[in-house]
Each structure stands twice: as C-alpha cells, then as structure tokens.
C-alpha cells in the first residue's frame, strides 16, 4: 500500500467541499420538495393512497409538515433520529429503516464483494490467456450477460430456481418464526439470500470481468512486466503483484462511477425476491404513499452512498501512487 497517504492536500479539501455540498443539496431537497406540492399537502399525498387517516392523524401530519418548521429544526430532528412516524406501518420510521438496513447491507455487501473478487481474478486470468477460444467465448458470453438488466435476471432466476425447481424460497430473508439456533439460523439466512445474491452477482460480475480484462490486457504490454519476467520471478507473482496491481486502478475508478446506478438494481432485486431490505421498504412505502418513509429512506440512502463515494476517493490514492502526488 502507499505510505503517507494520510497527508491531506489541497485536492482533498476540494473533495470534502464537494461532498458536503452534495450532502447538503440532498438534505435540503428532502426537506423542501414536499413543500412544493400543489394544494394541501395531506390531501394531495394521502388522498388517493391506501392509508386512511383519522382526523387527528391528519392534524398531526399537517402540523408536522407545516411551513413553520424551519430547516434548522428539520436538521436537528434528523440528527436525533427522530424521523417521523409511518402511518402505513404504524411504527417510527427510524425503527423501520434500521431493521431493513442490515439485510440490504448483507445483500449488497456480499454481492459486491463476491463479484469484485471473482470478476477480478477471472479478468486477470482471461487476459493472461488471451485469444484462446475459451477465453474469447467467455468474453462474448459476459458481454451478452452485461446487457441483461437486474430486473430480467432476477425474474428469470426466480422462475427457474424458486418456482420450477423449488430449490430456493421465493421470498423473505429468513423463515418466519424459524429456528433460533445459531448455525441453523445462519444456514437459513444464506438459503434465503442465495437467489437475490446470485441475481446481483450475475449483474455486477460481467462488468467487473470485462473491465479487468481490458485493463489487464493493456498492462500486460507494459515494460515493467517484461522487467519482472527478466527477474525470473514466479509467474503467479508477475501476474498479480506486478501486472494485476496496476490493472486494478481503472477498475476501482469505474466502480465508483457505477455505484449510483447499481443502487437502482439492488432496489429492484429486493422487490422481486421480496427481500426485506431498504428496497422493499421503499417500494411498499411508495405504493402506500407513505411519505415520511420515502423521504427518510431516500435521504439516508443518498447520504450513505455519498459516504461510500468519499471513502472510494481515499481508496484511489491508496492504490495509485501517481494520484497522491499529482497536484
């Protein structure tokens, strides 16, 4: 890794400012947009929804979203995790969010991790063995796979494995009222996780693979790979320590740029598999016009994504020494 990466430069400051601005924009939007709704807020949103409000609930809502609530007050509430109350679910929004979040993290985290590792290794090995027929076929297959959006893969997998073969459950993260014994519980979770996980991995893997392969093919031509060969180093070391290490840089870069759009896919997949993560929560809230939930989910997700972006920026400099020292 790069030493002295923690030294901040002027570039860093600009980065921090950018993210702060973005975060502020998101927060402000989540605050102000509801106030732009035409007519009476409450009727406009809840008039046609599946939630029926009692008179006092209506009054409470009006008060809650009243124009007199300032932005400052709003911020304070956010920080204190007082995120309002969901009328559709009859629970505080924060409770809903935090019970759904772990599942999403589990799903997305493992999907990204697996697809990155497999995609990277496969890409490196494919590039090393370039132009053999198997490799060409693999590249072709991956290109086609990349063209299939998560919605489609999700549905197809659901059809084949959940409905036809009945190998996996069609919904949920764990069997309700199931075993609480640890090992059995873990297995149960994994069992439920498999389908959505596979869907996402299938969606993320081709991109990683192709990108790594392309990046690697350019790296292989480089002089320093020749130098490494001349040094008589073992082939595995040349491939990974010398070549793949440099191929990593564009891969990580592109990852950051795709992140925002990967979220969309994750939302959809959760819904398809009825996986109780943030995505399903959002979907249900949208269906029920449950505005407090929608607001909070959007805001928190955005902030989380921003945080990840920010972390990625620092990851770049760990990986590419040239960036750290560029002005």
């Amino acid at each position: 890794m790069i030493r002295n990466a923690h030294k901040l430069t002027r570039n860093d400051l600009g980065l921090v400012i950018t993210f702060l601005i973005a975060a502020s924009v998101m927060t402000w939007l989540s605050y102000s947009l509801p106030r732009f709704l035409p007519g009476d807020f409450v009727t406009a949103t809840y008039g046609s929804s599946q939630v029926t409000l009692t008179a006092e609930q209506e009054a409470a809502l009006r008060d809650y979203y009243g124009e007199n609530e300032g932005f400052g007050n709003y911020l304070l509430r956010l920080v204190h995790l007082d995120w309002g109350y969901s009328y559709g679910f009859q629970t505080p929004v924060s409770a809903l969010f935090f019970s759904a979040l772990p599942w999403t993290i589990l799903l997305m985290g493992s999907a990204h991790l697996i697809s990155m590792v497999i995609g990277f290794v496969a890409g490196v090995e494919a590039a090393w063995r370039r132009n053999r027929p198997f490799e060409k076929g693999l590249v072709g297959g991956m290109t086609v796979l990349e063209g299939i959006p998560e919605i489609c893969t999700g549905v197809i997998l659901l059809f084949v494995f959940a409905l036809q073969l009945q190998w996996f459950p069609a919904a949920g993260a764990e069997t309700a009222y199931g075993e609480k014994v640890f090992l059995a519980h873990v297995l149960d979770v994994v069992h439920h996780l498999t389908l959505p996980l596979c869907t996402l991995v299938l969606a993320y893997f081709p991109g990683n693979f192709l990108l790594t392969r392309n990046s690697m093919m350019m790296v292989i031509m480089a002089d320093y790979v020749n130098t490494a060969r001349a040094k008589g180093l073992p082939p595995l070391r040349i491939r990974y320590v010398h070549a793949a290490r440099n191929a990593l840089i564009p891969v990580v870069t592109r990852f950051g740029m795709r992140l925002a759009f990967m979220i969309t896919g994750a939302l959809v997949v959760e819904k398809i598999n009825a996986y109780p993560g943030v995505g399903t929560l959002l979907y249900n809230a949208i269906a029920a016009r449950d505005l407090p939930v929608i607001q909070v989910v959007v805001l928190m997700s955005s902030l989380l994504i921003l945080a990840i972006f920010f972390a990625l920026e620092f990851a770049y400099r760990l990986i590419d020494p040239r960036i750290h020292h560029a002005r």
Binding site: A22, G147, I148, I151, L267, K271, L291, Y316
Partner: protein, 284 residues
Amino acid sequence: MHVNFHATLRRDPWFLSGVTLSALFLILALLGPFLAPFSPWNMDFIPLSPPSATHLLGVNDGGQDIFSELLYAIRNTFVFGVISASTALFLGVLLGAVAGWFGGVVDLILMRLADVLLAIPAIMILILVAALFRPSPVFLALILSGLMWPTISKTIRAQTLNLKQSLHVRAARQMGGGSGYIIAKHLIPEMFPLYLIGFAAKARMAMFMEASLAFLGLLDPSRKSLGMMISYALQFYYMDIWWHWLFPPIICLSLMIMMVTFLAISLEKVLDPRLKESMPGRRL
C-alpha cells in the same frame, strides 16, 4: 480524431448486432400504434386469458391485450431513452467543450458543478420527485439527463483540452477565428465518435432507469411500460402467466438494453486507443 474506424466497426459482430437490434426496435417503436391490434387501454377482454389467435400474448389482469401493451411499452421506453440520452449528450458536449475551451473560472465552476451532480445518486432524486409530484415521463427524462451530463462533459472536456493543442485549431485561432466559430467548426465535429459512445452509454442507463422506476410503481400507471408490465405480472407469479405475460417484456427489455450495451462496447473498443492518449489520470 481518427477517421478510419468505419471499416473496423462494420466488421465487428457486436456493433452489427447492436445496430440490427436498434433498427428492429426503432421500427417497432415507430410503428407500434399501427401494429397493435387493439388499444392497450381497452379493458373489454376476459382477464387473464391465455394466448389465442386474437390475443397473441393473452390478456392481463385488467382485461387488456398484452401484445398491444407490449408494443406501446417498447415505444415508451425507447422514447424515454432517446430523449434522456440526447439531452444529456447536448448538455454534456456543450458544457464540456465550453469548460475545456475557456478554462479558468468557467472551467472551475462547471467542473465543480459536475462533481457535485456526479456525487448525488440519480435514482434517489428521481424517486423523490416521482413519488411526490407524479410528473410526466418527459420531465423525468429531462431530470435524468440533468444528472447524466457530468460524465459526458468530463470526457469532452478532456478531449477539448487535447484538441486545443492541435495544429489546425491553433491555426484557426491565429487567423482570427472567434471562440464560437472554433468550437462549432473545429472542435465539435472532431469529437463525433465520443458522442456515439456517450449516447449509447446514457441511453442504456436511461432505459434501465425507466424500467426500474416503472417497476417500482413510480410512473403513471396508465402509461404502458416494460417495467410496469413486469411488476404487474410478477404479482401473479403463482399462476401460469410466465410465458406469455412475464417473459415477453423481460426479453424485450433485455434486448433493448443489450442493443445499446453492444453499441457502446463495440464503439469503445474501436475508438479506445484514440481516446486513451487524451485521458489524464483517472477521472473521465
């Protein structure tokens, strides 16, 4: 930029597939309303009936002919993608070229703006706006393009900076060519291949977004969309609707996304060496 990529492109199987599919879907999109046997909103038919001679793909739960729905849905997704991508392209090229050409404060402001917009997750804004306001799809397409132009503008800006050093641009400047003239006549036509790549990539994202938004129920329910069809069909997963109701929109959506993916990949493959030299560091 390089002129001779036509020959290589024409031979590339991905490019050909992409173009063929695009042509196919373009025709379907244009002729959709004429090819549809019934109006997709016509709810007179027996709900959930299987495919037959009159109803090629059967009837959905609301009594509407699925085949007609499909044709209109293809059209809507296609149009959404085109509008969004074109607007994003227009904005990206304009702002990128201006930033690259004028440099200085203009460049700084525009690039900072681009950075902020890049950081904001597009889907969240779209969800928020769609959930609150139920705007027309065109409006959403435009908002999406407002969030997609930054990546294009960065690419264009990098290439503009590169071109600024080229001989014919410097000669034009020396001869007294004004900024507008140079940008219009010298820079913009030069970067044509980049536009194709940008358009394909953004169209892909836009169509995917449209399908996802429709799937999540954020778009107008009476507007036919592939995502929406999938979403409705899925509700009846326990019934025998998979082959005629669920798979057709899935296949169509996959093919549409594939066609732009293939175009983008083949274009990038052919043009990449030329682009490589102009990309400094990591941010495109």
